[in-house]
């Protein structure tokens, strides 16, 4: 069971809704993933365009916990405003704090992320900040009282997986709130590795929506996260430099 603030979930996969080829594929991928948490972005709409598709209406939102992000915010103030707009929908009180400091790397700005998280906690939000894998920054966020820490595995959409498993483990070891690995997951084994490090969940989007077959990849991710979690709980063998026989070594010489 994954507990974030007052919410509890059976699935440890948080799925982004960006860049799917079409709504049908997206709906099927969401089904296969068995996710219970969907992330969204907030954007201006053209109210005079009737046929403008509406993502939420393509899904039965009642079945999911919605996690709007503050993507697009360049500072804390903008992030807080986007979060409040999202909450005003009456559909959610969770928010993924995302304050990007650099367009090339899309890496988060530590100072503005701290500020935005602090402000949104005051406003009563359930706050999940997207952060770098800076260990002390994660601790600072936890000290503010955020409900989960979401360190990036590698740059958003880069599919490079977990570049620094050591920092990831340090963050997980020190945290008393859930740690959700967010951004950079490229394939199933990346998600499994995140869970093996002890992460409480994984948030991914492009790895599924950008796969040749998003529906099948959604299933792969679901299985990988379960596999990684089970492996973490099972307690893996230690790595050894040299070999250890799995077949008995005594009584080998037959005749």
């Amino acid at each position: 069971m994954l507990k974030i603030g007052q919410y509890t979930f059976n699935s440890r996969l948080l799925l982004g809704t960006g860049k799917f080829p079409d709504f049908t594929t997206q709906r099927q991928a969401v089904e296969e993933s068995e996710t219970e948490i969907l992330t969204f972005a907030v954007r201006r709409m053209d109210i005079f365009d009737q046929n403008q598709p509406n993502l939420l209406e393509a899904l039965d939102v009642k079945r999911f916990t919605l996690l709007p992000n503050t993507a697009g915010a360049k500072n804390a103030e903008e992030a807080v405003r986007i979060a409040k707009l999202a909450k005003a929908s009456g559909l959610c009180d969770m928010v993924k704090v995302e304050v990007i400091g650099c367009d090339k790397t899309l890496l988060p700005d530590p100072v503005e992320t701290l500020k935005a998280s602090e402000e949104l906690l005051k406003e009563g939000f359930t706050v999940l900040p997207y952060t770098s894998d800076d260990v002390l920054l994660a601790r600072r966020l936890e000290e503010l009282g955020v409900h989960a820490i979401m360190p990036g595995a590698s740059p958003i959409g880069s599919g490079q997986g977990i570049i620094n498993p050591l920092n990831m483990r340090f963050i997980i070891e020190q945290s008393t709130v859930p740690v959700i690995v967010d951004a950079g997951i490229g394939t199933a084994s990346d998600a499994a590795q995140a869970m093996e490090l002890g992460a409480d969940g994984v948030l991914l989007n492009t790895a599924v929506s950008g796969a040749k077959d998003p529906v099948k990849m959604a299933r792969a991710m679901k299985l990988a996260i379960e596999a990684g979690r089970a492996a973490f709980e099972a307690g893996r063998i230690e790595k050894k430099q040299y070999a250890t026989a799995s077949s008995p070594t005594e009584g080998m010489s037959i005749g």
């Binding site: 969204f40 907030v42 954007r43 993502l55 409040k84």
Partner: protein
């Protein structure tokens, strides 16, 4: 009456007296639409009481795909 919606000036009929009217006119009252009126974010239930006057600035936003 002129309104500034998402930065663009738009002329609407006199019958549009509230935010709710505006959304209904576009068939959006049932949908996920969030409105900010003159920098003041409205909760859904406030839409019907939020009266519009000439020159009001509105932000109308919704949810789109994102990660």
């Amino acid at each position: 009456m002129n309104l500034i919606i998402n930065g663009k000036t738009v002329t609407v009929g006199e019958e549009i007296e509230t935010v709710q009217h505006l959304l209904q006119a576009q068939n959006l009252h049932e949908r996920v639409v969030i409105v900010e009126l003159n920098k003041n974010i409205l909760q859904k239930e406030e839409h019907s009481d939020a009266s519009l006057k000439d020159g009001d600035a509105l932000e109308v936003v919704s949810f789109v795909g994102g990660g």
